[in-house]
């Protein structure tokens, strides 16, 4: 089964390759919500309807598309592997609930994932590294065009694409960029920026979605409005906000460096020490240290450590991945031990061989 492959080479393109402004923007994601006419939405549908939707969507993508999609039904997948897909941001937590008839179609390079019977019948998702709003949208749009030719979409002249949640109606598009903003966080500017931005129809939140804190100073910036604006307008607005945030973050970094270089260096190197030598590494501390180390790399203070370390380890330090890596279930404390081990190995591997060899013992 091809899901094995996904698990084995756990590094997904959006974690490794670099796009524009990749020192600050970790990834760009576009999500399109679509529904078919003639079937009720997952919140209200019967099992028969669920199966029919699944067959229709899967048929189109598997039979005719050249790019090699692989199909995975959620109810066929062990809980741990579902969790790993969530942690890699390839599926949503909601899709992972097994008794909801959800399934996912993943492209071979994991750039595109089409979720079937999530909150809507179809959720097309595209993740790119760095800031690549236009390219990511183009790709998602292509998949959408392809599906649209074969499937009767629920669309309304006034309201646009009809979705289950009224907050997605219209374009059905949610565009988001994941940003690493350590300097804005350290200087507490982010607390004032977030409410200001929210008045412009753009939301900023922790990387794990609504109401979550921002572990590792990673924030998700996305559009709130999906109705009354074209896709292009939404992308432009979000792109502008992202550019401003990048500018502010850069300026704050320079300021920190100019004002308190020694204190900053001290903090960053201590964090490098922690993740290089710790024997117990709780997730909160791990995230904080990773953010520091990544900042150190970006500022040229820390050398000989790979740039993708933050993107990768932020993903691999999560419970599902750790257990996958350990190939057994782990308790809280065991996870902290294992996380510390994983970090040490990753940092050592980094000095001798390319970063993708992390699972080379398989």
């Amino acid at each position: 089964m091809s899901i094995e492959k996904f698990m084995r080479d756990a590094v997904t393109p959006w974690m490794t390759a670099y796009g524009e402004h990749s020192d600050i923007v970790m990834s760009t994601r576009i999500r399109l919500a679509r529904n078919l006419t003639g079937y009720r939405y997952p919140i209200a549908f019967t099992e028969e309807e669920a199966m029919a939707v699944d067959r229709a969507v899967t048929g189109v993508l598997l039979d005719t598309m050249q790019s090699g999609y692989s199909y995975t039904k959620m109810s066929d997948l062990p809980a741990l592997e579902r969790q790993v897909l969530v942690e890699k941001h390839l599926i949503s937590p909601q899709l992972a609930i097994p008794d909801r008839h959800g399934a996912v179609l993943l492209s071979a390079d994991e750039t595109v994932s089409v979720m079937v019977n999530e909150e809507d019948h179809i959720r097309i998702q595209c993740i790119y590294p760095g800031l690549q709003l236009e390219d990511a949208y183009k790709q998602a749009d292509q998949v959408d065009d392809y599906l649209e030719k074969e499937l009767p979409y629920a669309f309304d002249e006034d309201f646009g694409y009809l979705t289950s949640c009224p907050s997605n109606t219209g374009t059905g598009m949610r565009a988001s960029v994941m940003m690493h903003l350590p300097a804005l966080t350290m200087t507490k500017q982010i607390d004032r920026i977030i409410p200001a931005i929210s008045r412009l129809g753009i939301i900023v939140r922790g990387s794990y979605g609504e109401g979550s804190e921002a572990p590792g100073n990673v924030y998700q910036v996305s559009n709130q409005t999906t109705l009354g604006k074209t896709e292009q307008e939404i992308l432009t607005d979000l792109g502008n906000i992202a550019s401003r945030l990048i500018g502010h973050e850069r300026k704050s970094r320079e300021l920190l460096l100019a004002k308190s270089r020694i204190a900053l260096e001290n903090r960053l190197f201590r964090s490098l020490g922690t993740i290089s030598y710790a024997r117990l590494l709780p997730s909160g501390e791990a995230a904080r240290c990773l953010s520091d180390v990544r900042l150190g790399i970006d500022l040229g203070i820390i050398q000989d450590v790979d740039m993708s370390i933050l993107n990768e380890l932020m993903i691999f330090m999560q419970a599902g991945f750790l257990q996958q890596y350990a190939s057994t279930e782990l308790s809280q404390e065991e996870r902290d031990i294992f996380r510390a081990k994983l970090f040490r190995e990753r940092l050592n591997v980094d000095k001798s061989s390319p970063p993708t060899e992390i699972n080379s013992e398989e």
């Binding site: 209200a44 669309f155 006034d158 219209g170």
Partner: protein, 184 residues
Amino acid sequence: MNCENCKERPASITIKQESVIGSLERHLCEKCAFQSQTFHFDPNQEPLSIQQFLSHWFSGSDPFQAQPQTRGEPLEGPECPACGLTFPKFLDIGKFGCADCYDTFRGSLPQVFGKLHNGHSTHTGKVPVSFNELYAVKKKIEEIRVKMKEAVEAERFEEAAALRDEANTLKQHLSYGGEDNDVD
């Protein structure tokens, strides 16, 4: 100096607002300052969920009273024929049950969308190609129907018959595309 907000009470508090564009100083009275603080400056407050948002909004002030809606529907409103959802239930769960809900609640939706999408309630983005084609054919049939009626009224029955055949052919195209439409 009077408060910038209410312009009634004297300004006694200066608030410095930092935004992406720069910082801005606002001179407010105690009352307005308090309100603006509680409204904008609470980073600990989680964003409202859609359900909370909709139910707060509807229970706070009664918008049905304020709205000059002339549909004359009772508060319960119609029930969606496809999934059984009612409007109050929709506000409660914050989700539509199916695409037909949009038709069922059409009159009340611009209000809901306006609140959620910065005052917007009409889609301006992408339109599926298939929908465009379908729409074009429907429009064509509509035109033919008008001509047909004129022909019948002018007692040009032969022409009317030809038009009817044309409409029927188009109609077949439509049902081919998955949607049936009544021409006659």
